[in-house]
Symmetry: C2
Subunit: 129 residues, 2 copies
C-alpha cells in the first residue's frame, strides 16, 4: 500500500526537500523539491523526477537537457522531511547554467564568488541556437 510514501512528512504544500549528490564525486549537485507523485515516479523510473515550484508541474530532470539523474540510492532523514538521492549525473551537468552543480558560488569575504566554470553553453544544451 505504499507505506514508504506515507512515512515521508510532506509539508503544507505537499512537498519534501530533495538533495541530489553525485554518487561518484560526492559533490552536492542540486536541491529540488518532490511531491508524492514525483517521489513515487523517481523510485519507479530509477531517474530523478521533481516538482517544479516555478512551473507547478512534474519535472523529469533532463527531459529537455538530456541531463537525467540515474538514481543509485534514495535516503530519508530522521524526521522524514528530506530526501537524499545519490545519482549518476548524465553529461556531468546538473545546473541549468551549464555547470556541474547548482552550488557554484562560494562565500569569500562577504561575497558570493563563482568558482565553477560553465561546461556547456545553455543555448547549446536547450537547443536555442
Amino acid at each position: 500500500m505504499n507505506d514508504w510514501l506515507e512515512q515521508v512528512r510532506w509539508d503544507e504544500h505537499g512537498l519534501v526537500a530533495a538533495v541530489a549528490q553525485d554518487a561518484a564525486s560526492g559533490r552536492v549537485l542540486t536541491l529540488a523539491w518532490m511531491n508524492r507523485t514525483a517521489l513515487a515516479e523517481t523510485a519507479r523510473r530509477g531517474e530523478a523526477v521533481y516538482w517544479s515550484r516555478s512551473r507547478q508541474r512534474l519535472w523529469h530532470k533532463g527531459e529537455s537537457s538530456g541531463h537525467v539523474q540515474r538514481v543509485v540510492e534514495l535516503r530519508l532523514d530522521c524526521d522524514g522531511d528530506a530526501i537524499l538521492l545519490r545519482v549518476e549525473q548524465a553529461g556531468g551537468i546538473a545546473c541549468h547554467t551549464g555547470r556541474e552543480r547548482c552550488f557554484y558560488r562560494k562565500l569569500d569575504k562577504e561575497s558570493w564568488v563563482t568558482t565553477d566554470a560553465v561546461i556547456k553553453d545553455p543555448a547549446a544544451i536547450y537547443g536555442k541556437t
Copy 2:
C-alpha cells in the same frame, strides 16, 4: 551593507534550506533551515547556526550535544534559495539519534531500512542519565 545576505532568496517564512556535508567523508549529514540571522551568525562564528522550525529559535548546532559543525566552506545555489555548508563534524555525529548523519535510512524494496548504527546513545549525548 551585507549585500551577500541580500542575494539569498529567503522564502515566505524568511528561511532558506541549508545542506550540511562532511568535508572529509563527503557524506551529506543534515538538511536544516536558516534565517538571515542564522546565516550571518554561521559566517561570523565559523560554526553552523540554524533556525529551529520546531522550537522557533536560533539553534547553534551542538549547543547541547557538543556536536558543533565547523564551517569549511559556504556555498549558494544558482537560484539563491539553498545553502551548502561543508563542515568538520565534531564527534563524528550530526544526528540527534546519535548517528553520523540524519539520512540513515535507505529505500530498499518499498521500505525505508536503517543502515547506519547509533554511535552514541542519545541519553549519554544529552546528559539524561
